[in-house]
């Protein structure tokens, strides 16, 4: 070992991430060429979801443990970043009763984002220390506990978080180009994590925990690392969300969002980063179509009835159908480079 170099799987990972990055850039390019202005918002939301789903893959996919806490971490990051970056003059209006001088300071966008990542990461580490000790169902319930606790704090401390009302006046800092860069970077990081030593040990422990322990894998440690790493992705997503929308409220950081992102991940396939990307894109496109149907459009001269709940129905249908017919999702264990380089892989 003269000098640490990337092994072949990691080199494949770089290639795969680059291909996924091209897919993402192609989507953005298509929007700039042919898209209409109102689609920018949808695309931005899709990419924020993509950040979350890729982060979710880092823990849920590699460790094969269902976690529902991501909306909580995203909310923490979004609120931290928003409270730090909003100008003090604006906060005097939007947060008049905030304690601890929260409405009397302001930070630069970069410092706010850094602080948001730091706080989310520290909370991720603290929860992770407990989380990584548990087994399958316990972990899922623990993650739900985190989600419920964080949500009730958001709702309860209206003086800081405004609860279900909007916290407004956040300057618009990020736009589509910057977010695209973040998404591509996230894809690279998630894929490199998957192919890293820790990622490999984590996947081994997911397949056969006893076997992995016998081979010397410290399951607690690798789960903890993955958990904290994934909270950092959620932090990035929360910051991207807050820095674009201008207003945030507690409502989106709860179960509905959790359902949506988990559906995206399992449609594509938990086990690969490519699955996370494709699942997010497919469900986002599909949902837009279903939402259009839901409002009762006029189709071929016939006014369709308004069908409230159709999008949720479709989402649930996708989850059940995928689990019944393709338990490993569309991509299964494969990454995009496996599809492109299939022949070399087989030979």
């Amino acid at each position: 070992m003269s000098r640490p170099r990337l092994n072949s799987a990691q080199r494949r990972g770089l290639l795969g991430s680059a291909l996924l990055g091209l897919v993402v850039i192609a989507v953005v390019g298509a929007y700039y060429l042919w898209g209409e202005a109102w689609q920018a918002r949808i695309l931005y939301a899709t990419f924020v979801n993509l950040l979350v789903v890729v982060g979710l893959q880092v823990f849920m996919g590699n460790a094969n443990i269902t976690s529902f806490a991501h909306a909580a971490f995203m909310g923490i990051a979004a609120y931290t970043a928003a409270i730090c970056v909003t100008p003090a003059a604006m906060k005097a209006v939007s947060l008049p009763d905030a304690p601890w001088g929260l409405n009397a300071f302001e930070l630069s966008p970069l410092a706010s984002a850094a602080l948001a990542v730091l706080i989310t990461g520290v909370l991720g580490l603290l929860t992770g220390l407990f989380m990584a000790r548990l087994n399958g169902v316990g972990m899922t319930i623990f993650s739900i506990a985190i989600l419920v606790i964080v949500h009730s704090i958001f709702l309860h401390r209206t003086d800081i978080f405004k609860g279900n009302q909007a916290l407004f006046g956040i300057p618009k800092i990020l736009d589509l180009p910057q977010l695209t860069l973040m998404v591509v970077a996230a894809i690279f990081l998630a894929r490199l994590f998957r192919e890293s030593r820790t990622g490999l040990m984590l996947r081994a422990a997911a397949d056969d925990e006893v076997g992995a322990r016998a081979m010397g894998v410290d399951v607690f440690r690798v789960r903890l690392v993955a958990w904290v790493a994934s909270t950092l992705f959620f932090a990035a997503a929360g910051i991207a969300y807050a820095f674009h929308l201008g207003t945030i409220s507690a409502r989106p950081f709860y179960f509905n969002f959790v359902f949506l992102t988990v559906a995206m991940l399992i449609l594509g396939g938990l086990r690969s980063v490519s699955g996370a990307v494709f699942g997010t894109l497919l469900i986002s496109i599909g949902l837009e179509a279903v939402r259009w149907l839901e409002t009762g459009p006029v189709l071929a001269g016939v006014k369709l009835p308004e069908l409230l709940g159709l999008s949720g129905l479709a989402l649930g249908g996708v989850i059940v159908a995928v689990m019944a017919f393709l338990p490993n999702g569309l991509m299964g264990n494969r990454e995009i480079d496996d599809l492109v380089l299939r022949r070399r892989n087989g030979g």
């Binding site: 269902t66 087994n135 399958g136 316990g138 006893v210 709940g309 949720g312 989850i319 689990m323 019944a324």
Partner: protein
């Protein structure tokens, strides 16, 4: 003193409701390792069936109670047949996510066919009266709830110990393969487990409807979330654990409500969940989980 009695009755009735639901979750989990997220929608289905049969058929509450319980049992068995049979034997995550999808589908079906607003169904409200027992004023519903839960637990115990299907269920929780080798039909055993879980959900539904007086798409979500927590505290899949966890959770919830200052009332849920998280840290597999080495045959 009467305050104390009142609050302990509160705790018992909360705990009874959680225990009923948690038992339904545990009996399914113990046999097919399925975390049944759709259990809340079974309860909501019971609520809607009450609203429908109550307006269309009859106002007789006893017949309606039977209808609600039957509706819950039927929908639980149908869900097993349609959705959960395909994932039998799959790993935990697959089952959990399937159940989760089924739950979303049902919620949105209620939304689509019913309405996002509550649908009134007040036939069981009469159960909830204020009784005056000496110096203590208590809600009759809470007494019924506690008594019915205790009766249901005793009946379940007798069923599990005395009948063939009951014994098969207990055996299947230990070693399903062996039960099948002994000549019992797997489908029948699993359907039996779902029917019992539906029956318990139906009982819980009656009390929930008596308290709410209306059905809503998301009405089952919160009670089932709490029941999950109860299951996890007690040890997932353990039936005594589910009952213990349910009552512990009821006590914890009432205690937190009493002890927490009025201004922090909104945080009661958060405090209860934090307590649960601490219990999990102390005993990662729950209080009554059997000592089991990783890799043992489950």
């Amino acid at each position: 003193m009467d305050y104390l009695i009142q609050q302990s009755l509160n705790a018992l009735s909360f705990g009874a409701e959680y225990a009923l639901i948690a038992l339904g979750l545990a009996i399914v989990f113990s046999i097919m390792r399925l975390v049944n997220f759709a259990h809340g929608e079974v309860i909501a289905f019971g609520g809607y069936s009450l609203a429908v049969t109550g307006t269309l058929l009859t106002g007789n509450p006893w017949i309606l109670m039977a209808c609600v319980v039957l509706a819950c049992m039927a929908v639980a068995v149908v869900l097993e047949r349609v959705a959960f049979r395909t994932v039998r034997g799959a790993d935990l995550t697959t089952g959990l996510l399937t159940a989760f999808g089924v739950s979303i589908i049902l919620q949105n079906l209620f939304l689509l066919l019913g309405s996002p607003r509550p649908v009134a169904a007040t036939q069981f409200i009469f159960l909830d009266r204020t009784l005056t027992l000496g110096p203590v004023r208590v809600s009759s519903l809470q007494i019924y709830e506690t008594a019915v839960t205790v009766a249901a637990i005793v009946a379940l115990l007798l069923f599990l110990r005395r009948t063939t299907l009951g014994m098969a269920l207990r055996a299947a929780a230990l070693d399903f393969e062996m039960v099948r080798l002994c000549g019992l039909r797997a489908n029948r055993v699993v359907a039996g487990a779902f029917a019992i879980s539906g029956f318990l959900a139906g009982l819980a539904c009656i009390f929930i409807m008596a308290r709410r007086g209306s059905a809503q798409p998301h009405m089952g979500f919160d009670p089932v979330l709490s029941a999950f927590v109860a299951c996890v505290i007690g040890g997932f899949g353990s039936l005594p654990g589910a009952v213990l966890g349910g009552f512990l959770l009821g006590i914890a919830e009432v205690a937190v409500l009493i002890l927490l200052p009025q201004s922090a009332g909104g945080l009661a849920h958060a405090v209860v969940f934090a307590l649960v998280a601490l219990i999990l840290v102390w005993r990662p597999d729950g209080i009554l989980s059997p000592a089991r080495e990783k890799g043992d045959k489950l």
